[in-house]
Symmetry: C2
Subunit: 220 residues, 2 copies
Amino acid sequence: MPALSRRERPAKPALTREGIVDAAVRLMESEGLQRVTMRRLAQELDTGAASLYVYVANAYELHAAILDRLLARVDLAPAPDWREGLHRVLRSYADLLFAHPSLARSALSLRPNGPNYLALVDTLLGLLAAGRVPAVQAAWGVDYLLQTATATAAEHAVDTKRDAEAEWQQLSDTLASASADDYPHLHQRAADLVSGTPSERSYWAVDMLINGIIATPTPH
Amino acid sequence: MPALSRRERPAKPALTREGIVDAAVRLMESEGLQRVTMRRLAQELDTGAASLYVYVANAYELHAAILDRLLARVDLAPAPDWREGLHRVLRSYADLLFAHPSLARSALSLRPNGPNYLALVDTLLGLLAAGRVPAVQAAWGVDYLLQTATATAAEHAVDTKRDAEAEWQQLSDTLASASADDYPHLHQRAADLVSGTPSERSYWAVDMLINGIIATPTPH
DNA sequence: TGTTCGTTACGAACATGTTCGTTATGGTCG
DNA sequence: CGACCATAACGAACATGTTCGTAACGAACA
């Protein structure tokens, strides 16, 4: 007595990588990323968790796939000034990741390579070209521009509950109490290490990277 | 009939954060990081997994603590040239993380703040000071020097099994097949995006960051 | 039409991280 | 000396990621 296959029902089409990611994004928007577990997602698709592994290697890859969908929302609109354009695009990208830091974590390991990610890279390359940055430097540099933004978002991937405030305060204390004998430079510049707002630092970081990319020729 | 408490035995001292991390490092060196699970570690200490949570917030924090111990091995020896010194220290740091990429992952989120990490930061600050880099720029820059090294290591945190070779080849293919219409810049510079050896790119990245830090004044 | 075979789906099982309520321990107070 | 109590330790339970062996399916083929 074979049970009626669930795949038969027309309303629930056969499993597809596309369909799985669709459902994952939908689930994320309705219940939050933390609810997007293999089991919950499978339930949504009226199947078992194991079935998903045919189309998705693991949970990280699923997250990366979700991220690529979200990347469609990055603002790639042209800007009058190329440098300002880089700031805008990267801030838009960072804002997206900050909203879902655990996606950033996955993105670090399994770099996405979907169409939206390619479009993002392409736009960055275009902006650097507009700034007359030599080709190879620009190509290498794009990696680090994105990596820095991604890593900064990933840093906030734990405990949205526990204030970043508290953690930051603790770092500040650790630095302030650093012995001048053991850590002379640290002691002297403790204040500088924690100065500035996150947004000031991010903006500076992008400028810093651009300047570095321009100033540093690649070998051969 | 109260069972004899395991804490009584003199050979196994009462639980301590120090002792837990010690055991974790020992376990890592004998059986590999992947074997350092809460249960296995508890077994090593002749207790239950739940007991560890009194001293360690979660598995990530444990990893971060292990990393700080390992950080003692980073080569902080003074170098004749400050710039070369930065290269050496950061390569030493990166080598360490490459040996245990999952530690790098943890380090990204829960930045370590143990003595060895502080010594590392202090050394970097000293080298930048030797290069006459303005104080605040140096302070902000150190964060990104370390973040880049950490993130680069973290990127390799999945599947040491599956060749990075294969993944890289796939990326290369994706880029090569990128439509010239949809992704003009990407198409044009596909070769540059994957050129260079990892070590060439890392070296370039450090130079690039140093140049950027020097060239970019902080606000106020 | 009946059989074979590769693929897809899936239930059950295992290892892990984490939490909860309970128990034991050792010191303190009456 | 005996009752009490804060804290450490723990066993059991739960949710999750992942794997394995098996069953259903459908297409190619005899």
